[in-house]
């Protein structure tokens, strides 16, 4: 085979991966250089260049895609090496969870097995074309979010010093905690006022009063526990304010608090909260979402509970 033809194919393969305006110039130069390299090898060995010698030269030069990479300036990293295992884990677990939940939903849904599409194989096929393939939106979403984060990060000045929150992730902003306490105090007022809406809300329209009338059993047995948890959350915030940083003990206390909150919310959602069905359904939906949020917080809190640094075992 003609060595020139091999070189031309190789060069074309390299430059098609380069910016269009650069291609012709690089192609002309690269072909010329490779031809000279080949001639140099032929002169060294004392025999004319052939296909085998050309292939040896190109093998030493590198794969076209690697060579094209070398022509390009260093790009930006979308997923840092340190984040790659975590990224893969979150992506795969997200897909697996969607598959698990959707498969359980598909196979536990009442359906006549003798009806068309009701047998297990048809259900599986339908599942695969809907939830099975659809679940891959999650890794795609993660990659898109990573690209946006990388672009934002790349636009920042490279010499910008790392903020304290990055260097010391356990440090807390005391001003924010004070703001949190103030907002919690203000926000708790209307919640505490709901049980007595019939007393103070006489001026309100009757449908509003009816919508916010609490279920008797909820008010007597399930609701009061929230006061205890609020007090504990207040204590935790004060402890953070005093310490100025998350300590191991405060994180463990926070994790325990999350578990108790999840249990209480699950108990609340299990029964009626408001007498009005619409208000009740809406509130229980919101509380269920809140519980999911606390579960997420619990996962992060547990992951951040630092184990004491132990001496290596010899």
């Amino acid at each position: 085979m003609n060595p020139e033809a091999i070189i031309d194919t190789y060069v074309t393969d390299v430059v098609r991966r380069l910016p269009r305006k650069q291609r012709a110039d690089v192609a002309f130069e690269l072909r010329s250089l490779l031809a000279e390299e080949l001639q140099g090898r032929a002169d060294d060995t004392g025999r004319p260049a052939d296909a085998a010698m050309t292939m040896d030269l190109l093998a030493a030069f590198g794969r076209p895609m690697d060579v094209a990479d070398r022509y390009r300036p260093a790009g930006f990293t979308i997923i840092r090496p340190a984040d790659a295992p975590g990224f893969a884990r979150v992506a795969l677990i997200g897909v697996a969870l969607q598959w698990l939940i959707s498969l359980v939903a598909v196979y536990t849904a009442p359906m006549d097995a003798t009806a068309p599409g009701g047998d297990w194989l048809s259900r599986l096929g339908t599942w695969w074309l809907t939830w099975g393939l659809g679940s891959f939106w999650w890794p795609g979403f993660l990659v898109s979010a990573s690209i946006i984060a990388a672009l934002v990060s790349a636009r920042r000045a490279p010499k910008e010093p790392a903020p304290f929150a990055v260097l010391d992730r356990d440090r807390v902003n005391r001003a924010l905690i004070v703001l949190y306490l103030a907002l919690a105090a203000v926000g708790s007022v209307p919640i505490v006022a709901i049980p007595s809406i019939a007393t103070w809300g006489s001026a309100l329209p009757q449908p509003v009063v009816q919508a916010f009338t609490l279920d008797g059993e909820f008010l007597t047995y399930r609701a009061p526990w929230v006061l205890l948890l609020w007090a504990a959350a207040l204590g935790l915030a004060v402890a953070l304010l005093v310490a100025g940083r998350w300590t191991r003990v405060i994180r463990i206390a926070s994790a325990v608090g999350d578990v108790v909150w999840i249990a209480l919310l699950a108990w609340w959602v299990a029964g009626p909260i408001f007498v009005s069905p619409l208000a009740d359904e809406t509130t229980r939906g919101i509380l269920a979402l809140l519980a999911v949020g606390i579960v997420v917080d619990l996962v992060f809190t547990v992951r951040r509970i630092a184990r004491p640094i132990a001496a290596p075992v010899s």
Binding site: E29, S32, L33, A35, G40, F61, D66, P73
Partner: protein, 114 residues
Amino acid sequence: MVTDVPPLAKYEQDLRKGVLVLAVLSQLRTAQYGYSLRQALAEQRMPIEEGTLYPLLRRLEAQGLLNSEWRVDGGPPRRYYTLSTPGAELYRDLHESWGSLASVMNKLLEGPQP
């Protein structure tokens, strides 16, 4: 934990990578084209793989460190590279840094051996 120790060539390659740009800049005080530059470096016992050198020339040019032009000197057209003004300044700075680094390394290497 003990992992496989890479061969000596890998360490040598890493060592050369660090001085690659300085070596190239040093030879481009006079105009050279890719092949002649590689030959010049190889003759001075600084071989650089062609697949590394040619793209590097383009990258240095894109950074404004090199000027280039096509010339026909009786043979095929060749792209000649030479230091630009910023390239010459960088070369001087790197040359100084190299002197200082080489001096430090020599002291380290000639010091008491473990």
